[in-house]
Symmetry: C2
Subunit: 252 residues, 2 copies
DNA sequence: CGAGGACTTGATGACGGTCAATCCGTGTGG
DNA sequence: CCACACGGATTGACCGTCATCAAGTCCTCG
């Protein structure tokens, strides 16, 4: 994988400063930007002076790190995971470009989960204090921030439904459809995409073991519903996949 | 169970208007009120002109209802649940006094879950538009609102951990400890309390069947860790219960 | 006081977990 | 450039946990 060109600016380790324009970002509908006036957009853009690159496998932040910014994703897949005191891990999501990382950190002023890049990635750095004060000026931005926070809560409800009530096959089908929809929202093919995460990470997220994930993929392939080879996945029969998922409220 | 006295004021069905004082509420640390200045408190109180009573088994709201207020709970236990298109249900929480209902509704301007009273209950009615505009005036209140929203997200992560990685016994132990802590926060005994929900509701929340819940309670009782008789539960050996729960990050 | 829901307990079986062997693809170093 | 090593993925055999089905008891509430 080719390295990102190194920007010719002086910057803190892993931090990059360069021209940012929220209006040109192409992730409008998903990020904070939806429905803002030009003035609001300008001010938001002015605030996001910094970006940060994260290399594959590296954490953007870890549970316990001090919170002072949220991170809209520009580029690349992440996983978020929480770890219990006795060492069990739970993957809580696979955020992708347009999603915003860090909202779990507001309540305790410290991050509650790890955010690990699944591939070389880039995020915007939005200082949260500044964002808060900006939302006091602009109703539209405030509204949007609350919407995004609430969307996160709704997403989590969907994951609970998934973990609480679904069989293995249903979980996998739901997971695949969810990815498909999110790719579609972002203008990518909903029919064919790359799984950036391992079977183990998928399994952990879905409350299954990696062997079960693998077996279930194989079964769905035998049934002609999908084609999987390694990380490449194609949905051959969306309708049947949806039937298997059971018309569920897919998380996110 | 004796009926609530009917207030001698003209009010919408199920709605009651009477003097409210957030400062006297006794749910400070949990609700929106924490750390507000007297002025802020006054204005918040002024906004919460209405309370609403909900009878046992009745919904405070249902998925799809139009959103215009959030509901801090004054009195009584609720359950929240989401329902998938194909009819599966998932209980997503058991909010109690001090918790606030309705944040899932912001994103789509409609509630995404049902909130059902598990006993006769009373909530404050906080019109969300007014709350938003008040938070634009008062930093403290804004900060607190964001904290509460974020706390909800963190709570959900804990539930995912529970559903994704724990065995039945561990789930039950975690569930009991969680209730215990929340009772303690509210000034009630953490050692002995009433389970307001049925075994089936507990099971649904924990991703187990009601028989498994019953059996697991019985086993923990045989082991001398807790005493359960019907809805009454006592924790006899907190330490062992914590061991079983596995020092987990207990949701909420 | 009666009826129906809630709870308990037992017997059985299925789904997914566990353990293990093998294959594959990728990236690394000689 | 090739060989090898290692992590990831697949597949099989077996087993355990929890779901399912069923019967019976006990509260609770009307």
């Amino acid at each position: 994988m080719s390295a990102h060109p190194i920007p010719a600016v002086k910057a803190a380790a892993g931090a990059v400063t360069h021209a940012v324009n929220c209006g040109d970002c192409g992730l409008h509908d998903i990020c904070l930007v939806e429905g803002l006036s030009p003035t609001e957009l300008d001010r938001l853009t002015g605030m996001v002076a910094t970006r940060r690159r994260v290399k594959r496998g590296e954490p953007l932040f870890r549970a316990g790190d001090r919170f002072d910014a949220v991170y809209p994703i520009r580029l690349g897949f992440f996983k978020t995971r929480v770890t219990s005191d006795d060492g069990r891990e739970q993957v809580t999501g696979f955020p992708m470009p347009g999603d915003i990382l860090g909202f779990d950190a507001i309540s305790a002023a410290a991050f509650q989960c790890d955010a690990i890049a699944l591939e070389d990635a880039e995020v915007c750095v939005v200082p949260f204090e500044k964002l808060e004060s900006l939302t006091r000026e602009f109703n539209g931005l405030q509204r949007q921030l609350h919407r995004v926070l609430s969307r996160e809560i709704v997403r989590d409800q969907g994951v609970m439904m998934l973990l609480g009530t679904m069989r293995a096959e249903q979980r996998i089908a739901t997971f695949v459809l969810n990815l498909s929809q999110r790719f579609a929202q972002r203008g990518f093919s909903p029919r064919e995409f790359i799984l950036r995460m391992t079977r183990e990470e998928i399994g952990n997220y879905l409350g299954l073991k990696l062997e079960t994930v693998s077996r279930t993929f194989s079964k769905l392939q035998d049934d002609g519903v999908i084609t999987v080879e390694q990380k490449r996945l194609r949905i051959d029969e969306p309708t049947r996949l949806r039937d298997i998922a059971g018309a569920t409220c897919a998380p996110e």
